[in-house]
């Protein structure tokens, strides 16, 4: 369809925009996202009748500025997405490399375990863990990180299996290089492009799952704004203030679309087979 160059440029632009918003949230947000103004509850957004530029996206049920909550929410949602991706990426890639390189019983145990884990929907696992540990930013990152390591493990396992039979690995082994050295210096650099692609797409997935969890009341606990709980609060006021849920929904769709675009562009660039398929 569109060229990979186009996807990468647009995707990077969207991601950079949201990253900028997240980093400079204190400078950009017109109000404190937590300060309530009960005399100004559910003020309509600028495009509605009686709307004003003071609260461009209106206010919520406690009179908090929705735009400011979304700007600060970008921080939480992106932070959760990126850190949980780093956790699952490290965990999954390590397991995949070890399972493929060492092989044997340990290898088949790891892969069998990842198969079993795949039968465990991440939302169920998240519900279980959050139900027992309680919802907090750290717990959400842990849950999301632990619940998606298998994706990396499986891909890395497959790639490493074929890599370790290649002549340059054999040469390294013949020179007396130790296992870890070979993994670090020869195998990981070859896996990196694929890992980068999966990681990019996973950040989008993590942000979506975090919003779903927050929506179920199991995510980042209020009053800390995250896009998921802004959306969940908006749902409760859907009859009178549809703009709350809709602004959060649009923010989520934009950032996830940007990340997906970037990830797909990178995949087409780095994996010529996928590129040929369009």
């Amino acid at each position: 369809m569109f060229g990979s160059q186009f996807k990468i440029v647009i995707g990077t632009f969207v991601v950079a925009f949201f990253a900028f918003v997240a980093i400079f949230a204190p400078l950009l947000a017109p109000f404190n996202p937590l300060s309530q103004d009960l005399f100004n509850r559910l003020a309509p957004p600028v495009w509605a009748e009686r709307g004003s530029w003071t609260h461009a996206l209106g206010t919520d049920n406690y009179g908090r500025d929705v735009l400011s909550r979304l700007i600060y929410g970008a921080r939480v949602s992106i932070l959760v997405g990126v850190t949980s991706m780093l956790l699952s990426c490290t965990l999954g890639s390590l397991c995949g490399v070890i399972a493929a390189y060492r092989g044997g019983r340990l290898g088949s145990f790891i892969m069998r375990f990842s198969d079993a884990h795949l039968a465990f929907p991440e939302i169920l696992l998240a519900i279980l863990i959050v139900a027992t540990l309680g919802g907090s930013l750290l717990n959400i990152v842990l849950v999301l990180g632990i619940s998606s390591w298998m994706v990396y493990a499986r891909v890395v396992y497959g790639l490493t299996l074929s890599l370790k039979e290649r002549p340059f690995i054999e040469a390294a082994r013949a020179q007396g290089a130790a296992g870890w050295y070979i993994i670090r210096r020869h195998i990981l650099p070859h896996l990196l492009p694929m890992i980068i692609v999966i990681s990019t797409l996973q950040v989008a997935q993590m942000i979506l799952t975090e919003t779903a969890l927050s929506f179920l009341g199991l995510g980042v606990p209020p009053p800390t704004p995250s896009w998921g709980n802004v959306l969940a609060e908006g749902r409760d006021r859907l009859f009178v203030a549809p703009w709350i849920a809709n602004s959060a929904g649009i923010a989520i769709i934009l950032v996830v679309w940007g990340i997906n675009l970037l990830g797909n562009g990178l995949r087409e660039r780095l994996d010529p087979r996928a590129g040929a398929r369009g």
Binding site: M1, A119, F120, L208, T211, I252
Partner: protein
């Protein structure tokens, strides 16, 4: 085929054992179940008594043994909210969830196959661009927000359909569309890719050289060969669909397993949580098994031995 089925069936209990073990350790290692059962006002004596009743004063291994025995005898304990065996409650909610997931699955399949096929036929033309863009946007959309949008449009503004609850077929429409949206966009893109890939094979050139009509080639030669990745995808997406049903049931107050589970989490009803998790995982494992068998049936190139 028979041997393959048996061998696959043997892996079911092993996978289930791993899932159940993970559930046990997550519940035990992340907190004291006695404090989960009781509310914050419970006295230390009450907690101690309950700990003894539940056998929590024994070692972890003994508790694990009891836990496994209970599950093998299908005894998940009594629900604290409903005062009835947890498994009975879960089974009574299965019907509603199956109805929702089944409808969503059919809807996603129809949308995904037709969308993917049309997109592949009109490759790089405006219809393909429109469908692919729509699918990519769908992938990026939190499906629960789609549910909320549908409620706004069809229930609040137009008043055509109910906002939530169960009853006739009109109650099923919005939840089924919302749940189908969890997998339909991916299915469209996968079908498109699979069809495009299958149509570059040599038998397609042969069929064309024989003078067969394009529609016939597509339906009788290309599609059967493109089914492999589509079926594998379905097996892998069952978990996503079940996760999606938890969210969808919450939005539309649908009385299925997902809503039961969320309610049980809030009410600290541990037996129901464990029973729902086990039953759901069993369903996913069986669905995956079914996908494997189906794959072997439709694609004779797969070596079952």
């Amino acid at each position: 085929m028979f041997q393959f089925t048996i061998r696959q069936l043997v892996t079911v209990p092993i996978t289930l054992l791993l899932v159940v073990t993970a559930t046990f350790f997550v519940l035990r290692l992340t907190g004291d179940p006695a404090t989960l059962y009781l509310d914050v006002t419970a006295t230390p004596e009450q907690i101690e008594t309950l700990r003894r009743q539940l056998g929590l004063d024994k070692t972890l291994i003994v508790q694990y043994g009891w836990f496994l025995t209970d599950i093998l005898t299908l005894d998940f304990g009594r629900s604290l909210q409903f005062q009835a065996p947890a498994l009975d409650i879960v089974v009574s909610r299965l019907g509603a969830t199956f109805e929702l997931i089944g409808t969503a699955l059919v809807l996603a399949l129809v949308l995904g196959l037709i969308g993917g096929l049309v997109s592949a036929i009109y490759q790089d033309r405006w219809l393909d661009m429109a469908i692919s863009t729509f699918a990519v946007a769908g992938q990026s959309m939190p499906s629960f927000w789609l549910g909320i949008l549908l409620v706004q449009l069809f229930a609040l503004n137009l008043g055509w359909l109910p906002t939530s609850g169960t009853g006739g077929i009109e109650h099923l429409i919005l939840p089924a569309i919302t749940l189908a949206a969890f997998i339909a966009p991916n299915l469209i893109l996968i079908t498109r890719t699979a069809v495009l890939e299958a149509s570059t094979d040599q038998y397609v050139t042969t069929a064309r050289a024989k003078g067969l009509k394009n529609g016939y080639i597509l339906l009788c030669h290309v599609l059967p060969n493109a089914l492999n990745p589509i079926i594998s995808f379905f097996g892998l997406q069952m978990g996503r669909l079940v996760g999606g049903s938890v969210v969808t049931e919450t939005i539309f107050a649908w009385p299925g397993i997902g809503r039961l589970m969320i309610g049980a989490v809030y009410q600290r009803d541990v037996p129901v949580v464990v029973a729902t998790v086990t039953v759901t995982c069993l369903a996913i494992i069986l669905a995956n098994l079914l996908a494997d068998l189906l794959l072997a049936l439709v694609d004779p190139r797969i070596n079952l031995e």
